[in-house]
C-alpha cells in the first residue's frame, strides 16, 4: 500500500509526480494534477489504478470517456461506479449536456490544469464482487503528440503513462477506412513511445494491457464485425507493432453518435458537425477487457 501525505501542516505529495505541495493547494504546482485525488485516496485501503485514454487530437477521447463514465454511473453491465468528488462528475456532465444540445464538447486545452480528471470506485459484480479504484484523466491530444514527439515536454503525461495499469488507444476508424494514414502513424508513435518508456529487451514483449479502440465506427460498420481484421487491413503499421512488441493487446470498435448532420452558412468557410442523436455501441467492452486484466 502506497501512502500519500495528507497533512495540512506539511503539505500534500502529488500522486502523479510526487512533488510536495503547499497545504490548501488545489492543483500540483509541478504537474497540475488535482490534489483532491490524493485526499480522496488517503481514505481508501486500495492502491488506485490509472487507466490512460490516449489518441490524437479530435479522435474523440473526451466524448468516449464522458459516455463511459456515465454508463458506469448508470450501472451498465455488471458494474457499480461511485464517483469520488464533484470533479469526477464534471466530464460526463459536460459531455452529456453538450450532446443533449446537439453539439460536441469543446476541445480539451493543452494546459494540464484545464484537464478533466475522474476518480471512480468501481465494483465488478460478476463473477465475484471486485472493487477497483480507477483514475482516468482526459488528456489533450496535442499534449500527447508533443510529448511523444519530444519526450519530457509534458512531464505529467510521461508520469501518467508510467503509472498506468492499462491504456486505451483510440484511433479514428472513419479516417482509416478512407485510406488516411495519419491515425496509423500517430498510433505507432504512441505505442513506440510506450515501448521505449518500458525499455524492455528486444525479445521481451510489454505486458501492460492496451485496448485499441476504433472510434467513429458508425462510418465503417464493417469494423464492428471483425476489428482485428479491420486493423490488419487499414492500420497495418499499428497491427505489426502490436504483434511484435505488445503481449496484451485487444482490438475493439465503438461508436457514440447515431447520426451526424453538418451545418454551415454562406459567410463561413468551415463546417460544424452536429450530432443528431447518440447511439452507443461498444463503449463498455474495451473497459471491461482492461479491468479483467488487473
Amino acid at each position: 500500500m502506497t501512502t500519500y501525505a495528507n497533512d495540512t501542516l506539511v503539505g500534500t505529495d502529488c500522486l502523479i509526480c510526487g512533488a510536495r505541495n503547499l497545504s490548501g493547494a488545489s492543483l500540483c504546482g509541478q504537474c497540475s494534477a488535482p490534489l483532491a485525488i490524493v485526499h480522496d485516496i488517503a481514505a481508501q485501503d486500495r492502491d488506485p489504478q490509472i487507466v490512460s485514454i490516449i489518441g490524437e487530437s479530435n479522435v474523440g477521447k473526451t466524448v468516449y470517456l464522458g459516455f463511459l463514465l456515465d454508463m458506469l454511473t448508470q450501472r451498465a453491465g455488471d458494474y457499480e461506479a461511485i464517483p469520488k468528488g464533484a470533479y469526477s462528475i464534471d466530464l460526463p456532465q459536460t459531455v452529456i449536456s453538450h450532446m443533449a444540445q446537439r453539439s460536441f464538447p469543446p476541445k480539451t486545452p493543452m494546459e494540464a490544469n484545464e484537464w478533466y480528471w475522474a476518480y471512480y470506485q468501481i465494483c465488478q459484480r460478476k463473477p465475484k464482487p471486485k472493487w477497483i479504484d480507477l483514475i482516468m484523466p482526459d488528456m489533450a491530444g496535442e499534449s500527447l503528440a508533443a510529448e511523444v514527439a519530444s519526450p519530457n515536454t509534458f512531464k505529467v503525461i510521461r508520469n501518467l503513462l508510467r503509472l498506468s495499469a492499462g491504456s486505451m488507444l483510440l484511433v479514428d476508424a472513419a479516417l482509416a477506412a478512407n485510406g488516411a494514414t495519419q491515425g496509423d502513424f500517430f498510433a505507432v508513435k504512441m505505442l513506440s513511445y510506450i515501448d521505449s518508456m518500458h525499455a524492455a529487451k528486444r525479445d521481451e514483449r510489454i505486458e501492460c494491457p492496451i485496448a485499441v479502440v476504433l472510434c467513429k465506427a458508425d462510418f465503417c460498420p464493417e469494423c464492428f464485425d471483425d476489428p482485428r481484421r479491420f486493423v490488419r487491413a487499414n492500420l497495418n503499421r499499428l497491427w505489426n507493432l502490436c504483434e511484435s512488441r505488445f503481449a496484451n493487446v485487444e482490438f475493439f470498435s465503438c461508436s457514440v453518435v447515431g447520426s451526424l448532420g453538418y451545418a454551415t452558412s454562406p459567410q463561413e468557410d468551415y463546417v460544424v458537425p452536429i450530432p443528431l442523436h447518440t447511439g452507443l455501441q461498444g463503449v463498455l467492452e474495451p473497459f471491461q477487457w482492461i479491468v479483467d486484466q488487473f
Binding site: S57, P106, M110, E111, T153
Partner: protein
C-alpha cells in the same frame, strides 16, 4: 485599448498603420484562408531588429492536427521549440474571445533568448467544436536585440502586432519561416501614458522588486500603456527576468511571474490557492509599498509628477545588476542630490562637491551619477 492608443503607439515605434484599416485582430479573422497573404519575411525597415519567429496555433495538415508549432524560423533550437510548445496558449486560453481581443506572452527561454508573443483569436476552431482558434505569433530575440526595445515586452508586442497586421495570420504555413524584422523604438518616453490606476504602478514596482511570488493582477482598464510604463519603471536588469502574460487565463505550465487578466474575467477553473501566489484587484486600493522601496518609489513618483519621463526611462534603463531595493535606494539618493545640484544655492553645491569628490561607488550607475552631480555643481 482604443484605436487612438494603437495609432499613438505606432507613432512611437516609427511606423504608421493605415488609418482606414481595422485593428489587427479584426483584420485577421475577416480574411478568409484563400485571401491571406503569404507569411513571407517582412521587408527589413531601416534599422529593423532581425529576430526569429514562430507560429503556434491549431490547423489541420498532413503531419497532424490541433495546437502545435505550425511554423518556425530555422534558427529555433529543438529545446526552444519544446519550451515554446509547453508555455503557449491553446484552446480557450484567451480571457476575452471577442474578435478584437489580444493577449501578450513574454518570457525568457532557458537558452537565454526572449520570447514575446501576440495572441489573438483567428476565426472559429477548425473542427467546429465551438470556441475560437487561438493564434499565437512569437518573436524570439536575443537579449541584446531585446535591449533595442528597452527590454519592454509591450514595445515588442506593438511592433509584432504591426507585422501581423501587414502579413495576416499564418494559417497556411510555408515550409520555412524566415526571420522577421521589427521596427525598433525611437523615443520611448513618448509612449502613451496611462491616465488611470497610476497608483498601482508604484505598488507593482514594489511588488516585483521585493516579492518573488507569482502575482495575479485583475481589473486593469488599459493594460498596454499601464504595463508599458510599469516596465519602464523597472530597472533594466529586472525587466527581462519578469515573465508576464496578459489577457490569458492562468496556467501553471506557463510559469509566469506576473499574470494580468485585464477585465476581471474568469481566471480559469482553478486558481492556485496557497502562500506562493499573490492575487491583486486593480479596482481596489493598492497595498502600501514596503518601506525598503520607499526612497526609490518616492523618486519615481516625483519625476512622474514633474513629467520627467525621458529622464525616468534613461535612469531605469541604465541600471544593471544588482537591482535590489537597497541598491536602488542608494541610486535614488544620488538622483535627489543631482536635482539639488541643479537647483540648489552655492552652499548646497559646495556640500555636494565635498561629498562626491572622493565618492566610492558600490552599485553600477553610481559613478556616472556622481560625475553628473559634480558637473552640475561646476555649472
Amino acid at each position: 485599448m482604443d484605436r487612438r492608443s494603437v495609432l499613438m503607439q505606432a507613432a512611437v515605434l516609427g511606423s504608421r498603420p493605415r488609418a482606414a484599416s481595422p485593428l489587427p485582430g479584426q483584420r485577421m479573422v475577416s480574411r478568409s484562408a484563400g485571401q491571406q497573404k503569404a507569411a513571407a519575411p517582412s521587408i527589413p525597415p531601416m534599422g529593423g531588429v532581425r529576430c526569429d519567429q514562430a507560429v503556434f496555433t491549431s490547423i489541420r495538415s498532413p503531419m497532424g492536427e490541433g495546437y502545435r508549432l505550425v511554423a518556425a524560423s530555422p534558427g529555433l533550437q529543438a529545446e526552444e521549440k519544446n519550451e515554446i510548445t509547453r508555455r503557449s496558449p491553446s484552446h480557450g486560453s484567451l480571457c476575452d474571445e471577442s474578435q478584437s481581443a489580444t493577449g501578450l506572452l513574454s518570457y525568457r527561454l532557458a537558452s537565454g533568448r526572449q520570447v514575446v508573443a501576440c495572441c489573438t483569436p483567428a476565426g472559429q476552431e477548425h473542427t467546429g467544436r465551438g470556441g475560437c482558434r487561438v493564434y499565437t505569433h512569437l518573436a524570439i530575440l536575443t537579449q541584446d536585440d531585446y535591449l533595442a526595445f528597452y527590454s519592454n515586452p509591450i514595445l515588442v508586442h506593438a511592433a509584432l502586432a504591426l507585422v501581423i497586421e501587414r502579413t495576416g495570420p499564418c494559417l497556411s504555413p510555408p515550409p520555412r519561416l524566415d526571420p522577421m524584422f521589427l521596427a525598433p523604438v525611437r523615443e520611448p518616453a513618448a509612449f502613451p501614458r496611462p491616465c488611470v490606476q497610476t497608483t498601482w504602478l508604484w505598488a507593482m514596482v514594489s511588488q516585483l522588486l521585493t516579492d518573488n511570488r507569482m502575482t495575479i493582477l485583475t481589473g486593469l482598464a488599459d493594460w498596454r500603456t499601464w504595463l508599458g510604463w510599469l516596465w519602464f519603471m523597472l530597472p533594466r536588469d529586472v525587466r527581462a527576468s519578469v515573465d508576464v502574460s496578459v489577457g490569458l487565463k492562468y496556467a501553471p505550465a506557463r510559469g509566469m511571474r506576473l499574470v494580468v487578466m485585464p477585465d476581471q474575467s474568469a481566471p480559469g477553473r482553478a486558481l492556485p490557492i496557497g502562500k506562493d501566489v499573490v492575487l491583486h484587484d486593480a479596482l481596489c486600493p493598492p497595498p502600501e509599498p514596503l518601506p525598503v522601496c520607499e526612497p526609490w518609489l518616492r523618486l519615481l513618483h516625483r519625476w512622474w509628477q514633474e513629467h520627467r519621463y525621458a529622464e525616468l526611462v534613461r535612469l531605469t534603463s541604465d541600471i544593471g545588476a544588482p537591482a535590489d531595493p537597497v541598491a536602488l535606494s542608494r541610486l535614488a539618493a544620488l538622483c535627489e542630490d543631482l536635482d539639488r545640484a541643479r537647483t540648489g544655492d552655492s552652499a548646497v553645491r559646495e556640500a555636494l562637491v565635498r561629498r562626491y569628490t572622493h565618492f566610492a561607488a558600490q552599485v553600477s550607475g553610481e559613478n556616472h551619477l556622481a560625475e553628473q552631480i559634480l558637473a552640475a555643481c561646476e555649472k
